[in-house]
């Protein structure tokens, strides 16, 4: 589904990503791990169009997506969440999720200005679907709450609901478990499993090893922007390079 070849990203003199190659297959849960500053979030920003690679190729279903804007990528079924959550605090929780269905809505300016019946029907369908998704991620009791009044954990799930509202084919989650307690992390694991079971490809950046080892089909370990290892959780766990990077050796 995603193929990355010879990817380089240089900031000034710093090689944030160097010669990275990997591919993610349809329906996998693919995790990227590595120490702080290894370039995980940079990699996500490159894939999702927030950064342009210095060199290298990224293809989505065979089509090159290098230099494509995030909104164009969304049209191709890619959606993501952020380590620094990006929630519209000037809207309600439900409106944030409804925003996620932006590309599904056909009504234009005129039907908006005069509130034509087609718009009304579309909005109602959008609202119903968004409510379902909020229930799905476990934010059901926040539907009419202002986003600014929600707790951190709830906002994390809300951001996932918004991403799911776009009916993505591939979902990138950047540290979804950061700042969550053990119970919340367990709920999150359950949620990611449910999403993956629906056939959505999931890419994950995460520090919580228990979570990552539990749900990933494959793992990519990077350090100083380079690939350290790639493989199944079992292979990664027994890889001496990985143990050295994490435990110091």
């Amino acid at each position: 589904m995603i193929d990355v070849k010879g990817l380089d990203k240089v900031f000034g003199g710093v090689h944030a990503i160097e010669g990275l190659e990997f591919s993610v297959d349809q329906g996998q849960v693919y995790s990227v791990i590595g120490p702080n500053g290894a370039g995980k979030t940079t990699l996500f920003n490159l894939i999702t169009g927030f950064y342009t690679p210095t060199r290298g190729e990224i293809t989505l279903n065979g089509e090159s997506v290098v230099g494509m804007d995030p909104n164009r990528l969304a049209e191709r079924g890619m959606c993501r969440t952020f380590q620094q959550m990006q929630i519209c605090m000037n809207m309600t929780a439900l409106e944030n999720v409804m925003l996620g269905r932006h590309l599904k809505i056909r009504s234009g300016l005129l039907s908006s200005m005069f509130r034509l019946p087609a718009l009304y029907r579309e909005e109602r369908a959008c609202r119903e679907r968004s409510k379902e998704l909020m229930e799905f991620v476990g934010c059901g009791n926040y539907i009419n709450t202002d986003a600014s009044a929600m707790s951190y954990g709830a906002l994390k799930r809300l951001e996932i609901a918004r991403a799911l509202a776009a009916d993505p084919k591939i979902l990138l989650l950047d540290e979804p478990a950061a700042g969550l307690n053990a119970t919340e992390t367990a709920e999150l694991e359950e949620l990611i499993r449910k999403v993956a079971d629906e056939g959505v490809t999931v890419m994950l950046v995460e520090h919580d090893m228990k979570l990552v080892m539990g749900i990933s089909d494959r793992l990519l370990v990077i350090n100083y922007g380079r690939k350290l290892a790639e493989g199944t959780p079992e292979e990664i766990r027994n890889n001496p390079d990985v143990i050295a990077a994490y435990l110091g050796g």
Partner: protein
């Protein structure tokens, strides 16, 4: 019933309609009507500007320029070339929409202060053109404008009309027409805000990154709302030209752009009722401050500063939150 009204998205439009239509019952002085009509024109302009500033979070410091193009296009087309006023108004709106699109598309890719600077420059250019094209616009001295007419029916402040057998003087007729136009302007704006389009606009303000990840083409939406708000300004400029009968380049000046922005910020960004109150306050305040004579500007500035320090969200949202808080408190105790 009352509960449903409180939660209805258009409830404030009803309140606004009651207020604007109640005014003729208590007001007689033609000078007050002149003032009230001017306020309604400005209020409708800032309702449009609010879509850009309050909802999409983009600052325009050149909106008086669009207002000026609307006014001068209507003035020249009707007075010099004898076009029908409605046609002139529509063509003016189309021209302004096009101008806004052409300048908006590149400058809305800029962020923050750069965008403000670019719109500022556009406003200045328009004002300079109006000032210098003397043979067409009358230059700094201004130019007279023919009264508004539709199908041979002329609307003039000095006329006398009958409405269902009631005698209505011209200044009241103008006020009532403008009151209806203001209500339509508010309803259309509220419909935009409550639509998927409005949601996309608000998301640009809330988090542009979030907007882009879910597929909002932010550049396109920003230029769309820039065009809509420019068209609001243009139409109101056209109406103002016909209403006042004489226009000067002051209406297209930088100062006037600042006045418009101040009305939005002072009254309450992202609140149509708020920006209307902002327009009312900024138009009326100088009248009340006339008694302070040479201190007028200082007092005016002080009021602006105090509002921004103590009510950073603008006075209408602050007042509404205050009342809601009180209601909730008393409801909780009961």
């Amino acid at each position: 019933m009352f509960e449903r009204f409180l939660n209805w998205r258009m409830n404030y439009v009803v309140v606004l309609a009651v207020i604007v239509f109640a005014i003729p019952l208590v007001m007689e002085n033609p000078f007050y009507y002149d003032m009230a009509t001017q306020i309604a024109i400005i209020a409708a302009t800032v309702v449009g500007l609010n879509l850009l500033v309050g909802y999409a979070g983009q600052i325009s410091l050149g909106h008086a320029g669009f207002y000026g193009i609307g006014a001068y296009f209507s003035a020249i087309a009707t007075t010099t070339y004898g076009w029908p006023p409605l046609l002139a108004m529509i063509v003016a709106a189309a021209v302004v929409g096009l101008v806004a699109y052409i300048v908006g598309r590149p400058i809305l890719k800029l962020k923050g202060h750069y965008l403000s600077m670019a719109t500022l420059a556009v406003g200045f250019i328009i004002a300079i053109i109006i000032n210098n094209e003397g043979q067409m616009t009358g230059g700094p001295d201004g130019m007279p404008v023919a009264p508004f007419s539709l199908f041979g029916w002329e609307l003039s402040s000095f006329g006398l009309y009958s409405f269902f057998g009631m005698a209505v003087p011209g200044h009241v007729a103008w006020y009532l027409v403008m009151a209806v136009i203001l209500l339509i302007a508010v309803i259309l704006a509220q419909n935009i805000i409550d639509s998927p389009l409005g949601r996309a606009l608000r998301s640009i303000h809330g988090s542009e990154i979030a907007a882009r990840t879910v597929g909002v083409d932010t550049a396109r939406y920003k230029s769309l709302v820039f065009v809509i708000s420019a068209i609001y300004a243009s139409v109101m400029g056209s109406i103002f030209a016909h209403f006042s009968g004489f226009i000067t380049p002051a209406i297209a000046s930088f100062d006037y752009s600042i006045v418009l922005i101040t009305m939005v910020v002072l009254g309450g960004m992202a609140s149509p009722m708020g920006v209307i109150l902002g327009a009312v306050a900024l138009k009326l305040l100088p009248q009340f401050l006339a008694g302070f004579q040479e201190y007028e500007t200082a007092v005016f500035g002080f009021i602006l500063m105090a509002t921004m320090i103590f009510m950073p969200k603008g006075f209408y949202p602050t007042a509404v939150n205050f009342v809601r808080g009180k209601l909730r408190k008393s409801g909780g105790e009961a």
